[in-house]
Point group: C2
Chain length 689, copies 2
């Protein structure tokens, strides 16, 4: 009893650590970006000052461009030569991990370092990326690291938390880390929990959820304290997350506006589908042609030049001058009169987070449509081009920004039609942002809650939800969410939430792989070695040996997995000589734990010919009652077993309890109901990753 | 494909209806209580006016008492003679329903009417009850009714939503209804979703969660519109729920206060455990002695008299006079000077909701400790006595109120120690309220979110969470949550979230019931009738018939449930004469749906002796691939199967796929790890309900 209690206390303690460390990382990222981008903009703004002729204005332009190129090159180098899996937002990888598919290297310390340093440089370098997605990845890596109490990269074993060295426990902690990451990114602890549930949970586990909530709350609180301290008012606790949408207090909405919101949802869904379609083509192109390291870095630099040039051109050509107020961080005067600043520069010449806030809260009339239209188009294009580059890059902020731009445009249009009825354009910017983001990533309940928490306003719940539903439904007509597209591009056998519709006629006998490689309860070392060398399977059913006639025997007894076999072989847990029955060495639970998670490959275990004739009794180590189904079981039934219990293998038996096949995740993932192709069940080829 | 789409649209539409109807009911309840309690207090206050001598003050006292007795009698009559299951908060019953156990009558229209009318009279009658818990029950009944498209009580079949007439679909909608109820009660749509998940969900289903969220959002929005309209400012949308904690804006907290909050959590846990212990004794007493209708009603009247007398005495004996402000609804002058009112009366002489708000927001110093101490003690006692009476009664508000009182007391004490450090006593009232409620009901994540949403303040997330964790942990040392205590008192086989710890040595063979009553694939009508008459089992395994030697046959083929057999027999789906093989009448899916949910009892189906010799081929109707386990499967494994897949029966087979036993929920629920008794696994007797 006290053992269980200790374990429970340890679990809470680990969650506390995860929350606090994630918050520290988030704070460091935020402060570094603030300092780095701040220095950059101040410096460039200095050179912009008082330049109104066409030639000398090129000086700050080239300065700006060279700083940006330098910054993004660092980010790109880290990813390309450091850890390629650190590219992108990391959400697709975490989604796979929580779903039960391990993408190699995704939760290593090296990945964390490349990701965190990379995102600081990428954001400061002015690319159309956000720092939010990477925080979720960072939180997950922290969780995976802390919970194991050791680091294989650093060859350091702290000898703590040994009980947590199993896939199952580690995955639970990573859920908490992902939630903490969301909490840090958006100041949305509840949204974080729902994100973890939506992406990862199969079976609702109350005490786990409670711990996840604790991690995300701790993270949000710690970050709040750190950032409030950094901002100079320690106990105001006004910065629960990296992104701050500002206060929307006092702005209500009317019943009739809901129809307009739905319309915006439709538009967001279409725009999102367009975004995804372009990015899909681009990603396919990148996979085919841009895979060399140098090309990857070059591509990043080209996009960076494009970003700076377009931004500069828009600022240069714009004539939207506004009187200076306190809210503008880096006001550029340019061709405007004294005491005025260029509104276009306020959007292009600042961090994306700041621009989102400007679009949400700048008072009516402070940004002209002639500024917004080019901004919206350019930013949409840049965001599409940027996602998928070899840099860490969040997708939330660029989508929000593009959406906020067209949302605000729509609001200005409505205000023009009837200034009394539609007084607030900021609300439309918010709805547009939600619609665009929903159209791109197609997340549902967690996204609603994240946005609700980020706006600190519960009243917007219903409009946000309706907009996100509409955007998702409209977008789903054309393609999948962007994360899912990228997961599919890598052929990961991800399981959906439910079985494919109309699949109840498909039986276990149709999906299973066969023949199955089975092991006898007492098996020779030679055969085990041979089996492990000759195939890549992960689980092997253990059966009673057949008698000479082949009539009796073959009854299914249990399941043993590859890593267990490798530990048994490595520790020589077999009999001392061929005819003996007692094993040479007793194997303890710790022998398995110490190896976790990087088990020795069979090639690296040396087995002598004499040893090959010895045998192992597998019964003490195998799982004696694994889940199995009869070959008549239907696909939806198998699917639910996999999804609800987080299975990786399911043994299929005949009426006499003899093994006739195995169903793995890949077998299941092959069957998908595709509404975008031939409208029917189809088998997709799945490539191992 | 279009069929699936239609079904999906219908599901959303039903959820919309559930949300809107639940909101309407909530609005009606709220307005009726407002009017009824308003008239009562105004009338009594009129008689209280200017009475300062000891004799005539008894006139308003007796008027107050007689009005209260009249009101609570109505509530009690409705419950006792109308529908006894409408008593209490309804949350334990809904919890059972969502867990998979059907408490009879719990989702019927009659129950709804008794509950809703009863709660109006009970709250107006001044008892220590809240209107929140019953809203959750009301939402669930609405969901069960709307989703079926028919009412058996009214003998009306609208012929719509026929697809939803299965236990599984109905249960999904009831989850939505419960969430809508929470949303209506507390203005907490996210809290509602989490409540449904926490109490009901086993397997996370994204699209279902999304629909549940839609129902609760719609409900909160509709209620907001209705109540805002009633309060005279239609589009302010400031009343998202029945209970309103008021605005806590601007009150932060300091790091060192968290320690004090934890201390309050401990106290709340202890106070909650005391509450539960007393209420448990009382409930056992009630089950033993107070079960006659007249006694039940008499008990309610006695408690009502006690409530009024104690309230009156406290007001009468108090000397806490405060200057009148606008926030007091029914100021009583009594022995106070002109322009002053009795602070004690402000707490006792108003609806509990109003008193909670007073304790949270009344400015420092407006309530004296000498008023709070008796209020806290009296209310704690009254709440303990009241829960379990034969009236609809919510538990949230009384617990919050008692907690807010001692929380505020603690705040006043701190303020007395250091007026600078502890400026706000209202925050301490809130924390105390949370601690007390958490200590009584021991809910975790959903309660945190509900309280966060009710306070409209995300900053209080961490303190609320820490307090609720501490209160739960402290309380759990002594006893279970009050809802669980009441569920246990009724011997419901409720499954916990996880398997009992240290139970992995228990095997399927130990838990299963045996022998099992099996049916042959082709079975005679006589045997089926006999089996259905002679036992109460719900599921029957179907096996291949044994041959004469008894050596071959007996292979497990499928599972058929009682209601299916009853429909088959009722519709005479057997062969026309004993030797024939073709059934007399084809059975359609609609034959099953039309009977749902009240299937004909076997006693009411007339089968002639000649028919008894005919036979039914069960294979087209049985479930051909039900889940089964081998007798070696461990209890935790079986438990997870039951919980994750929502099973009701699990067939246990031997190595040759022959049925050797059945595990039902009751078999599982018998095994509990009780930390309060002998500290070990024990088998509890389970009584059928």
């Amino acid at each position: 009893h006290s053992y269980i209690w200790q374990l429970e206390v340890k679990r809470w303690f680990v969650m506390l650590l995860i929350g606090m460390i994630t918050a520290c990382i988030a704070a460091v990222v935020d402060i570094c970006i603030d300092k780095l981008a701040g220095s950059k903009y101040s410096l460039v703004a200095l050179y912009f000052e008082d330049r109104t002729d066409n030639m000398t204005i090129l000086i700050p332009f080239f300065l700006w461009m060279s700083i940006d190129i330098a910054l993004v090159s660092v980010a790109s180098l880290l990813v390309v030569y450091g850890e390629p899996v650190a590219a992108g937002s990391g959400i697709p990888q975490i989604k796979c991990y929580l779903n039960g598919v391990l993408v190699p290297h995704v939760v290593r310390v090296k990945t964390l370092v490349c990701k965190v340093v990379g995102i600081v440089f990428a954001v400061s370098g002015g690319l159309a990326v956000g720092k939010e997605g990477p925080m979720i990845h960072a939180g997950s890596v922290v969780a995976a690291g802390v919970s194991q109490g050791k680091s294989t990269s650093f060859k350091k074993d702290f000898k703590v938390f040994k009980n947590f060295r199993t896939d199952h426990e580690k995955r639970d902690f990573v859920s908490g880390g992902a939630a903490a990451g969301v909490a840090a990114a958006f100041g949305a602890p509840i949204g974080g929990v729902l994100f973890s549930l939506e992406e990862g949970a199969s079976f609702w586990n109350q005490s786990l959820t409670w711990r996840i909530f604790f991690a995300s709350m701790t993270c949000s609180f710690t970050l709040n304290v750190l950032l409030s301290y950094y901002n100079g008012n320690p106990w105001s606790l006004s910065s629960p997350g990296l992104i701050n949408f500002g206060e929307f207090t006092g702005i209500g909405y009317h019943g009739y506006e809901i129809l307009l919101f739905l319309l915006m949802g439709v538009f967001g869904g279409l725009a999102g589908a367009l975004f995804n379609a372009i990015n899909y083509k681009l990603s396919v192109f990148r996979i085919k042609y841009v895979y060399k390291s140098v090309l990857c870095i070059l591509e990043v630099i080209v996009i960076s030049i494009l970003t700076v040039s377009l931004s500069f051109l828009s600022i240069y050509l714009s004539n939207d001058c506004q009187p200076i107020t306190d809210s503008v961080q880096y006001p550029l005067q340019l061709f405007c009169g004294d005491g005025e600043y260029s509104a276009s520069a306020a959007l292009f010449f600042s961090t994306p987070e700041q621009s989102v806030k400007t679009l949400f809260h700048a008072h009516e009339g402070s940004i002209k449509p002639t500024t917004l239209i080019p901004f919206c188009l350019i930013y949409f294009m840049l965001a599409t081009l940027t996602y998928g580059l070899s840099i860490p890059s969040g997708l939330f902020i660029p989508s929000l920004l593009a959406g906020a731009a067209w949302g605000r445009l729509f609001g200005i249009f409505l205000h023009y039609l009837s200034p009394d009825l539609f007084s607030d354009t900021g609300l439309y910017a918010l709805i547009g942002a939600a619609a665009q983001l929903g159209g791109v990533i197609r997340m549902t309940i967690s996204l609603t809650v994240i946005l609700m928490e980020a706006t600190h306003n519960i009243t917007y719940g219903l409009p946000l939800m309706l907009v996100l539903i509409t955007a998702k439904w409209c977008g789903d007509i054309f393609n999948h969410g962007l994360y899912d597209i990228h997961i599919e591009l890598h052929s990961v056998p991800l399981l959906k939430w439910g079985p494919p519709p109309l699949s109840s006629h498909v039986k276990a006998g149709d999906v299973m792989s066969r023949p199955v490689i089975t092991l006898n309860t007492i098996e020779s070392v030679g055969k085990i070695t041979e089996i492990l060398q000759q195939n890549e399977h992960n689980g092997f059913p253990v059966i009673d040996p057949y008698d000479q006639s082949g009539m009796h025997g073959g009854t299914f007894r249990g399941l043993i997995i590859r890593s267990q076999l490798s530990v048994l072989l490595k520790n020589k847990a077999f009999t001392s000589w061929p005819t003996s029955t007692a094993p040479r060495r007793r194997i303890e639970l710790d022998d398995f734990r110490n190896e976790y998670p990087r088990f020795t490959e069979i090639e690296d275990i040396s087995i002598t010919d004499r040893e090959k004739e010895c045998s192992i009794d597998l019964r003490p180590f195998m799982n004696p009652s694994p889940y199995s189904v009869s070959k008549e079981a239907s696909l939806p039934r198998i699917f639910r077993l996999f999804r609800a219990l987080g299975l990786r293998h399911l043994v299929v038996t005949d009426g006499h309890n003899r093994v006739i096949g195995m169903v793995t995740r890949k077998d299941l993932a092959r069957f998908r109901y595709s509404s975008h192709r031939e409208r029917g069940l189809q088998e997709l080829p799945v490539v191992s990753i």
